[in-house]
């Protein structure tokens, strides 16, 4: 399956505030507020402003999280990346 590469928003474009279980992300480019739950904030952090696909992302996240098997993780992360792209928080590189 294709594993497209995405680029995350530049760090200074986002203002991220944890509010209990939710994370509020204010995007200064769109002036939109996104309310998200794990693992979206962690994904954005792991992408840290660089181009990244699901496989690379899985490798980075594996350093700090216990992840299920690699294929499943990649599929889930691919789905999350598409969601983030529809919010404009990441864009196809």
């Amino acid at each position: 399956m294709a594993d497209p590469v995405y680029r995350a928003a530049p760090v200074e474009a986002l203002r991220v505030e944890r509010l209990g279980e939710l994370t509020a992300i204010f995007d200064r480019r769109s002036m939109q507020t996104h309310l998200v739950v794990s693992p979206l904030p962690e994904i954005l952090e792991a992408m840290s402003g660089e181009a990244c696909n699901a496989a690379l992302l899985a490798a980075r996240l594996a350093a700090s999280f216990d992840l299920p098997d690699a294929a499943e993780t990649r599929a889930i992360l691919g789905e999350r990346l598409r969601e983030l792209a529809s919010l404009g928080l990441v864009e196809p590189a």
Binding site: G20, E21, A24, F26, M31, T33
Partner: protein
Amino acid sequence: MRHSTRIAVGPVQFRIGSDWRAPVAALERLYAAYPQDAARPADATVRLFAARPWRRWLRPSVQIGGDFVVPDALPLPLSMGLLAAEMGMNLQVALGWRRHLLLHASAVARDGRSVLMSGVSGSGKSTLAALLGEGDWRLMGDEFTLIDPASGDALAFPRAVSLKNEAIAEMAARVDATRLGPLLAGTPKGDICHLIPRADAVAAMHEPARPALLLFPRFGGATAIERLGEGEAFVRLTEASTNYTALGEAGFEALTRLVRAVPAFGISYPDSAAGLALVEQLWAEAER
């Protein structure tokens, strides 16, 4: 326009024009004791006008106009002109005000600290605020509360309280009849009667009060208290604000600060007495 008046509520200066004398006269009676400053230009304009010239006399009906209008809004009969004026004023604030974060919430204050009560119409937020405002609280407003993005303080918008249905008799039993407006029976929102806030509430309308308690009341059902997390309160308040998205990062900052600084609860109550007791109880706990 043929008839007009000027009213200042909290930080907003209105001018209201009308094709008829009656709505203006009714407003002038309700707002007679509010401060007047003729040198101050109006921030917002409301127009009450006849949709067709003959509608000034023939089955007169009041169209609500102004800086901001709702497309396809139905006109009201002239007997409900006061309600038309109130709706017009609310609309200008809801859609036009940009200086503060606007919350669809009532508020009362004590010792410079405030309780904000947010809810849809029918939640009882207006009645609770009116009742508290007759006790040892200062009524800040029954409909809108403004949050100053710079300081985080709540600012009052103490318009004449819009009492609906059962709340009318409940308040009429407690206050002097001179503080009540005319009964508007059978409006699209039910029976309506306006209550003039107490003189101390009007005199203090420019005094900010630091938010100390955030409540989401729900009238009906058994007494219950539910603690709400910061995220939940944030979501509910974005839904209760008409200008959150228009304020950009200033709105985001004001709201995150508010939900972090202030404990939030959903409350249910079967009657006003139980509601008032809940507010006092949670206030006492928040003070500790």
